[in-house]
């Protein structure tokens, strides 16, 4: 397969995954609110409740079971209110009500059947439905079993997981029954585990088989407990299962490190890729690049100020806005400073550093020296749960995807557009390109606008991950340059690979070296690396590059 085709595949894959991820994240929130089962006739409900209220402690268990067995959607609410001691009977009418607040003499209540507010009733007029500890225990398991009978598998899964480590002898039988009839494999597995923990506690070493491989904390705790058991068989089996689980946890932790590494790497790529364009193509070193990133982040903040209450829309609009703001400032820098310093890279470096100081101070004076908060829209917060030990935070996932998109778009611009062609021509041989009629100055401006705009995009993305403050850009400029140097100047693929790998290296080193030392080690690594390959990972070869 040739490389172009391969790149298209990559892009397609990316798009598909982004589209797929969105609804997936949204789906989780909505799942819990489905409502399918039927409500009982009003009379039947009233009868059940009155039976509960009027029964003695021994009969109440049966009354609870009756309510649970009724299949009424309101049953759960009744039992919960009962467990909390909020269920009461009005002395005169015999109506069953839920106490909404119990301060003062007149208590506001709601009708238990309709859940409509029914005004205030004197404290003395109310007879609370009595409860004791034994009933509470029974209620807990009944509620759990009730939850296991709802139609929504996601809800059942939550209920099943809540039972882990919390199963008593009373419910085991009904649980086993439920587990056998469970249609959803995940819920069934969770139930089996919950039962297995109970069996393990009872000293059944065979139960370990059902727990093996689970990453759940409760399961691990139960196994840990069992591994200290006096029964050698149980202890051995549990230890063996624990060792397996530790192994798999390690794998998951590695995956998590990789994810964080890729996430950091994607940030580095975003920050560095604009630089790779300006530095690689024009040979211009723009020390104010970090401040262009900062401006992108502040644009996001400003958009959110303009559109209060719509952080998501503001963020989406900030993408073009951030690009524009940074691109315009970039062009101003190019026209105002850099064009006068052609062919004097060191002076360019100093002058643009001066610009960066001015931009930083400008933000400090005009906005604030303090950090601003940029809101993360709902669809970007939370995380994607892979399993019990591994969950991927959504904002980082989005930034990762965004980085890949930006990269793909830049690749397209460079490969498929007239501008890209001209830019590449100017990179290869400035004098020759000019003699072929390419207006190098125009290319310079456009290139600089493109590189700066991408810095703005990096800022928009960064605003979702870190604090937005005047020093935001400063923290990334050195890292960005390291990425460009490591990847090889003038090569976008190099920047991508270098950024991602530096991110991963950093995250791998961090746990045992600490954040600071990891940074230093990465720097030392780069210095040693350019001993071997002075022109980076993907050097430009040939006479033009020898300079």
């Amino acid at each position: 397969m040739n490389t172009t085709a391969w790149r298209y595949w990559l892009k397609a894959l990316l798009l598909v995954s982004l589209v797929a991820l969105g609804p997936c994240a949204l789906g989780q929130d909505n799942a819990a609110e489905q409502d399918t089962s039927a409500t009982l006739e009003e009379d039947a409900g009233r009868e059940l409740l009155q039976a509960l209220a009027e029964a003695n402690f021994r009969e109440k268990e049966a009354a609870i079971d009756a309510i649970a067995a009724s299949g009424d959607t309101r049953a759960r609410g009744w039992l919960e209110s009962f467990a909390e001691g909020k269920l009461a009977q009005v002395k005169d009418s015999g109506d069953i009500v839920v106490i909404l607040a119990n301060r003062g003499r007149q208590w506001p209540v709601a009708d238990a059947l309709t859940m409509e507010e029914a005004g205030e009733v004197s404290r003395r007029e109310l007879d609370r439905v009595a409860i004791n500890n034994r009933l509470r225990g029974h209620l807990d398991s009944t509620l759990a079993l009730l939850d296991l009978r709802v139609d929504d598998p996601a809800q059942r899964l939550i209920a099943a997981k809540a039972l882990l480590g919390d199963v008593d002898t009373e419910v085991v039988e009904s649980l086993s029954e439920l587990a056998q009839n469970e249609s959803d494999p995940e819920v069934a597995a969770a139930l089996t585990q919950a039962i297995a923990i109970h069996r393990l506690e009872q000293g059944d070493s065979a139960a370990v088989a059902d727990l093996a491989g689970s990453l759940n904390g409760q399961v691990r705790a139960a196994l840990m407990q069992a591994s200290r058991s006096e029964d050698a068989m149980v202890a051995d089996a549990a230890s063996a299962a624990l060792a397996d689980i530790e192994q798999s946890l390690k794998l998951n932790r590695a995956a998590e490190t990789l994810y964080f590494g890729l996430s950091l790497g994607s940030v580095l790529v975003l920050a560095a890729i604009g630089l790779a364009i300006t530095f690689g193509v024009m040979g211009v070193i723009n020390m104010a690049h970090g401040e262009l990133i900062m401006l992108g982040a502040y644009t996001t903040w400003a958009m959110q100020q303009l559109l209060p209450g719509q952080p998501g829309l503001a963020l989406l609009l900030a993408i073009p806005a951030g690009f524009l703001v940074a691109a315009l400032v970039g062009v101003a820098i190019e026209r105002g400073v850099i064009q006068f310093l052609k062919g004097r890279p060191l002076e360019t470096l100093l002058a643009t550093f001066g610009v960066s100081l001015i931009l930083q101070q400008l933000v400090r004076t005009l906005i604030s020296p303090l950090n601003r908060t940029v809101v993360t829209p709902e669809w970007m917060s939370g995380s994607l749960i892979i399993n019990d030990a591994l969950s991927l935070t959504l904002n980082r996932l989005y930034v990762l995807g965004f980085a890949v998109l930006v990269f793909a778009a830049l690749m397209l611009v460079m490969r498929r557009t007239r501008l890209g062609l001209e830019v590449r021509a100017v990179t290869q041989n400035r004098a020759m390109a000019r003699s072929m009629g390419i207006r190098a100055t125009r290319v310079d401006i456009l290139t600089f606008a493109l590189g700066s705009g991408v810095a703005g995009l990096a800022g928009v993305a960064l605003s979702q991950l870190t604090n937005v403050g005047p020093n935001l850009g400063q923290n990334y400029i050195i890292d960005s340059f390291m990425v460009v140097v490591f990847g090889g100047v003038g090569n976008l693929w190099g920047t991508l690979v270098a950024g991602l790998s530096l991110g991963v290296i950093n995250q791998v080193l961090e746990p045992w070296a600490g954040a600071v030392l990891a940074k230093i080690l990465v720097l030392v690594f780069i210095i040693l690396f350019i001993q071997k390959r002075p022109r980076g990972l993907f050097p430009q070869k040939g006479r033009a590059a020898e300079g």
Binding site: K541, G542, R543
Partner: protein, 277 residues
């Protein structure tokens, strides 16, 4: 301190150590010998199985269209570019592929760049001073003094290249032709066994060209000279043997007349120019 003084005077005390003639063994054949040299940049073969032999004292012209690999060949000989395969020998003793640029320069290979490269901030005198064949390691350079020997040598070279009147002039403000001459002068100061001269007459007037031709012809014999040039008239005026490079390997070799009548050469120069650049 006396030790320091000893060091300080080293270039004078051990004058005989200064490489007047580099220890190049040419008893058994050519001074420069390239065999099966190939190098590629990003898949583009700049040099392709190049074989080239330069005899001691020879004046050789190398011609070829753009992109024929002339400059890359010079880069390989002077240690700037490492070939992918092949071997490069200076005399029968020195394997140039194991040496870096300063070592190769010290062996006695001088190079004039295509673009005249002189030290613009320094005077003509200082440019020549730096080129002088002497101990070029750190400490001797720090304590070096300008002795009569050095001055005489510089005077002599300035005379040769016609820059005597401009001794104190900054090299940056010389004319293009003068810079070319200064660079040739710097080559002479190095007392090389082998001179590699890349386009010496580019940008020169007719008169300057004639003088350059004379100078190069005068150098041959004492030195071996390899000239890369585009200007056919100039090549014809100096060359005894001409090598035509095309697509990184030798296309033809021989006297100017023989080469010029070779149909392949004619085709390369007249017909097949689309591979150029």
């Amino acid at each position: 301190m006396s030790f320091l003084h000893g060091l300080a005077d080293r270039d004078r005390v051990f004058d005989f150590l200064v490489p007047q003639a580099s220890p190049v063994d040419v008893r058994h054949g050519p001074i420069l010998y390239l065999e099966d040299v190939s190098v590629s940049f990003d898949g583009f073969k700049a040099i392709n199985d190049l074989n080239l032999t330069i005899d001691d004292g020879e004046l050789r012209c190398i011609i070829g269209p753009n992109g024929a690999g002339k400059t890359t060949m010079m880069d390989i000989i002077t240690g700037k570019t490492r070939p992918d395969t092949g071997s490069v020998w200076f005399g029968s003793r020195h394997n140039l592929l194991t040496k870096n640029e300063p070592e190769i320069a010290r062996l006695g290979i001088g190079r004039k760049f295509q673009k005249p490269t002189v030290f613009e901030a320094l005077s003509v005198f200082e440019n020549l001073e730096l080129a002088m064949a002497t101990d070029k390691s750190l400490w001797p350079t720090l304590v070096a003094r300008r002795n009569a020997d050095l001055r005489n040598r510089i005077e002599e070279v300035m005379e040769t290249v016609g820059l005597s009147a401009l001794s104190r002039r900054q090299a940056g403000i010389l004319s293009h032709g003068q810079k070319q001459w200064l660079e040739i002068g710097m080559l002479l100061m190095q007392r090389p066994r082998l001179l590699l001269v890349d386009e010496p007459v580019a940008g020169m007037t007719e008169q300057e060209m004639e003088r350059t031709a004379e100078l190069l012809k005068g150098l041959a014999g004492k030195h071996s000279v390899v000239v890369v040039e585009h200007d056919m008239g100039f090549v014809r005026s100096i060359a005894r043997t001409v090598t035509v490079l095309h697509q990184g390997s030798v296309l033809a070799e021989g006297s100017m007349d023989k080469v010029a009548s070779d149909p392949r050469v004619v085709e390369v120069y007249l017909g097949g120019d689309e591979e150029a650049a």
